[in-house]
């Protein structure tokens, strides 16, 4: 098929119009506000301590999401502090823990926090698949708001904490920035290089 000049120009104009419209919608203030409001948390539950079941379920999610090795204690502190201090977090944690435990009960016959690690990972892998695909994320906007909130308010902050801590150990560092590492180790050949064959 030959492309006439007229068709080409019309095609380009159409493309420009569609891109312009897309950009306009993406940056249109009222729409942005709607989008931001979508991720706002309800503050029906006041900040406070996490109950044991919610805490255990969240830590099961963190372990399955980040993999190992992992120092779970500081994620526990992180989430407990957020539940106790930031409005809306505790209510969200309770809701998503309930949701995940329910899903696990249906799929595996046990609450997420007591399932075996493989079953946990399988379930979360299915539920969180939307994180890595734009169409699935778009679909989740309509059907799975709690999961999106879990992503925005739990998984992303947890990943930021991971990037400052355990990720460095996986990279080969002895310890991460923020742990008391003493004044001897930094002067020696890093352990990860010592292990390498000459």
């Amino acid at each position: 098929m030959t492309l006439t000049r007229r068709r080409f120009v019309l095609g380009m104009l159409g493309l420009l119009a569609v891109s312009g419209l897309g950009l306009g919608i993406a940056h249109w203030q009222p729409l942005r506000r709607v989008r931001e409001r979508y991720y706002d948390l309800e503050v029906d539950v006041p900040p406070g301590p996490l109950d044991e079941e919610t805490r255990a379920t969240l830590l099961a999610v963190v372990t399955a999401f980040l993999g190992e090795p992992l120092v779970l204690a500081h994620y526990e502190q992180f989430l407990s502090w957020r539940a106790a201090n930031l409005p809306g977090q505790r209510g969200l944690y309770q809701r998503v823990a309930g949701l995940l435990d329910g899903a696990s009960q249906r799929a595996n016959g046990c609450a997420l926090r007591v399932c075996d690690p493989e079953a946990r990972e399988r379930l979360l892998g299915d539920l969180l698949r939307f994180r890595r695909s734009r169409p699935r994320r778009l679909a989740a906007v309509l059907t799975r708001r709690d999961l999106l909130l879990l992503d925005v308010h739990v998984l992303r902050p947890v990943l930021r904490l991971f990037a400052r801590t355990d990720a460095w150990v996986r990279l080969g560092y002895r310890a991460w920035r923020g742990t008391p590492r003493g004044l001897e180790a930094y002067r020696r050949v890093p352990a990860v290089l010592e292990k390498r064959p000459a």
Partner: protein, 545 residues
Amino acid sequence: MSPPSWRSVLREGQRSGAPSRVSESAVAIVGSGIAATAVARELVRAGYDVVLFERGPEYPYPHAQQFREKIYLLHESPRYALPPDVKALTLSGDYAHDLNRETISVIGGSATHWGATTPRMAPEDFRTGSLYGYGDDWPIGYEELEPYYCRAEAMLGVSGTDADNPFAPPRTQPYPLPPFELSWSDRLLTERLSRRGIVLHTSPQARTRVSYDGRPECLNFGTCSFCPIGACYSPGHHLKRLKATARCTVYPRTVVRRIVADAQGHARAIVHRPVEGGADYEHAARAIVVAAGAIESARLLLLSADTRHPDGLGNAGEQVGRHFVFHHMWNGTLQYPEPLYAGRIGVMTGMSQQFRTTPERGRHGALRVDFSSNFLGDLPKPPDDASPDDVVRMLRPFASCRGIVLETESAPSPRKYVTLSGECDRFGDPLAHVQYEAGDFEHENFVFARSVAERFASATGAEIAAFVAEDRYHSAWHHMGTCRMSAGPADGVVDSFGQVHGCPGLFVAGSAVFVGCSGASNPTLTLVALALRTAEQVAGLLGRG
């Protein structure tokens, strides 16, 4: 280019309402940062009552709670922030960074978060005008300041050695603490550099290699500008002790609006108001020390204009706000083929002062080069859809790279100054306005710094050397000048002891009094040394009655 006239900016209504005189002390200090703390400490020791006024909030010391919030909870606490209509400035020129974020308004000031690298200036840095033809000579020389450098090092607890640094200026006393040794990767790079005739040495640091003066030994948390245990010096260390003497009071969240001088020009009182608002209060003092940083110190002198000083205090020669300079810092990254796993993160263990004074000094200024791993503090945020494996992949290049920091001088020029802004704070007082524009001298510094950086890259075997663009220079958080020392009011604001020309009893302490840049050396040790000298002068004045 001259600073615009700001007189019209001062509102008539600003002077209305006589504040009630409610308090007095021997000394009033505006600010609570490292210069204010140095002055307060000396004067309390000499037996005088001192009151410090700080617009920022309380900031607990040691900074363990803040460390936990920032590092482990990823939380910027609003408790330590000031509203933008209290802490703000306006900016023109070519400076591309947010200058307002470069000062920290809390009890203890900006030295609550600092790199704590504390080299001295070199003797020639005090005489750049006569030796190299740029800037002006200081009215005080290295020899005169040297004993105060020793005292400043003792106050801050500086760890260091000159044994590996052939370019260190002379000293009469050893460092109070032993040095932080080079890291494994620094030593590796040092060997490579030395084969090309470049010297990399340890750097003096105001953090404790061994426990000192009630501060514990550094445990290498790696968040070195933000220490949870007090190994890195913070003014909180001394302020806590000073408050315990009952001779020192610190008022947080208190804005000093102006200084009151009597008909003879003597500074007699300050007028202050709580951040939250309410009435003005007057605090009378026999000596007043302004130690609020280079920008805010100049602003306060300008805000203190009265009928006798229509252009502001100390501004008879129209010098307040002029001679404002930054260090010009360019960061780079050197990427190596092999992993280095830089072990001591967040501090510059390796430094080179070899390029401070080269035969070409004059065409360009002094340069200091540091190896750092400080970039780890500014890690990119993982993308929203990232997985943990993506994060590890994203970090992998950091294991085989080193940061390189190029810190150069800049020269005063009519295109760099501080004046009053057309915008006002919540009390109706004009904010500070900063005009800053790099010129030819700074361009030459950049060219020189880049050429030296290329030598470092090539000598150490870096595969990739990436540097920020020339116009993205950073001030290194070092703001200097605006109330500079001089022999008389025609070419400066204060004398070499920090006393404001024509205003007995009024002093300025801090980097505001610098004549120009502190060479390529971080300014803090020098400003503390000068503040200790100022404190002696204040004590002498008070002693004479």
